[in-house]
């Protein structure tokens, strides 16, 4: 079960990431080939940037790859899928020995996506960051702000205290 919102239909991604001369196929097989390139680089670098469509599609494939790999490297199907999806064979060891134990008892999904800002003047397609959780890199948002002391949160917090105490001793709100 994928624990993040996936689209109902796959994206066609017909715009070839690379041209036929560079050896990238076209059409559905070419699309899948491009996906393997992205999944491969994500497993190696654990944080990659690219156009939003490709990142989002590759995210689904990475999550499913991790779920299948969780069956262990003895399982023939898991090894076959990993062999297809990870062109660099040293990453297969990393997948089974590093990533699978890392996400063993995760309740959330194993990847996270951030949207990158639009460079001026805009018009280029949206880019985003796709990263595997638990990577050693510095966090994308170093110190997230805790807004519990902002004016409206303080007001609501005190309103809650009043509300709870009022409803506790039976006075109708």
């Amino acid at each position: 079960m994928l624990r993040f919102g996936i689209r109902n239909r796959p994206r066609r991604l017909s715009k070839a990431m690379g041209r036929k001369e560079d050896g990238h196929g076209t059409g559905p097989p070419g699309r899948l080939e491009r996906m393997t390139i992205i999944v491969n680089s994500l497993v190696r670098h654990e944080r990659i940037e690219g156009s939003h469509q490709y990142m989002d599609e590759a995210r689904g494939y990475t999550e499913r790859l991790l779920q299948i790999a969780a069956q262990g490297d003895k399982n023939h199907e898991a090894m076959d899928v990993a062999n297809y999806w990870l062109k660099d064979k040293d990453l297969i060891h990393k997948l089974f020995k590093v990533l699978v134990p890392r996400y063993e008892n995760y309740t959330t999904c194993a990847t996270r996506m951030w949207t990158l800002p639009v460079e001026y003047p805009g018009g280029k397609n949206k880019t985003s960051i796709l990263e595997l959780k638990g990577n050693p890199w510095p966090p994308v948002v170093p110190n997230p702000r805790n807004n519990s002391k902002s004016l409206i949160n303080v007001l609501l917090h005190n309103a809650k205290k009043d509300y709870r105490s009022a409803s506790k001793d039976g006075t109708p709100v």
Binding site: N147, S150, N153, L156, H157, K160
Partner: protein, 365 residues
Amino acid sequence: MRLIVLPPLNVSLIFFFLRILTNVQFVRGRRRSCKAPSWFAKRRVEPSIYRNELTADNAEFVREVILDKYADKSSPLKEAPWPRNEWQPKRSMRGGLLAIKIGTVPQWTKDGRKFNCTMLQVIDNHVIRYTPPEVFTQSAGYKSKWKGAYGSLVVGALSSDPQLFSAQYLGLFKEAGVPPKRKLTRFLISPECAIQPGTPLSAMHFKVGDYVDVQAKTIGHGFQGVVKRWGFKGGPASHGPTKFQRRPGSIGSGRKMSRVMPGKKLPGHMGMDWNTLRGLKIWRMNTKYNVLYVMGGNLPGPNHCYVRIYDSQLPTHVQQRAQKPPPMPTFYPELDASEPIPEEIFDDELFEFTEPSIVYEEGKK
């Protein structure tokens, strides 16, 4: 004691009379408007602007206040419940329900005939507002062809979180005291079928064996040519028809006409248009999940689309209804239900799966 906060709010109550989903008004040819009329209350606000400001437990507290305010409110209004008038055959026109189409399923009759049933689930319907005919005739959206005979009953479905809606839209639900609804629709009703705002409606509004009309927006196919949109034959595929395979061909005759008649079938936007199927029989009903099994697998609209259901206006069914009056003006569980309501109610001609297989007697041909 709820503070009306923004001055424009009560102004909106008076002028933006009600958010009305006008049912189909067929101007010549097929015409639809995807844009809501200007006098609709502005519905949505961008939730993320506000949600990011609140901390987790404050958001939790706000949800708690919403539930306390709206959860199982007995009677929101101080004045007594409205009187239940008698059903007048041929004159009374009742309100209807706003349901969701959840799928089609095959069923069989007792004599082995197979047919498709569409399942419509009625989720969380409330009456939002009743407007008597004299006031309704002055309001926006009134059509003179109704000759002032009908009042308007606004029914809402799917209560949701008020933080998603604008102040104007929330103002519409103040009178009924119900949580804001994701979807509103209006039914033309005769004055004696008026229902008090805030009354919950359920599938028991109809009875098994009744005939209903069902309205929904058809699946949109975008800009389509005449072959798909109107079923034209188009041109021959071979023998050298230069660029004439799917074209409409001639669109008008010469001298006397020398123009294109209005309503001429041409390529254009196809689908996403209100469509009505009339006289569908209700074969079966599940009262626990408020699901109606309606005859026919060809209801307009995709799965999970909104569907408006109201008593069938075909003359035969209007007469039939005269003999078997439906619950007037709707079904009140605490008053009308004599014994506990069974979970599944079947039509007597429908084959119940608990019965043994059908066996044809020797005698019958």
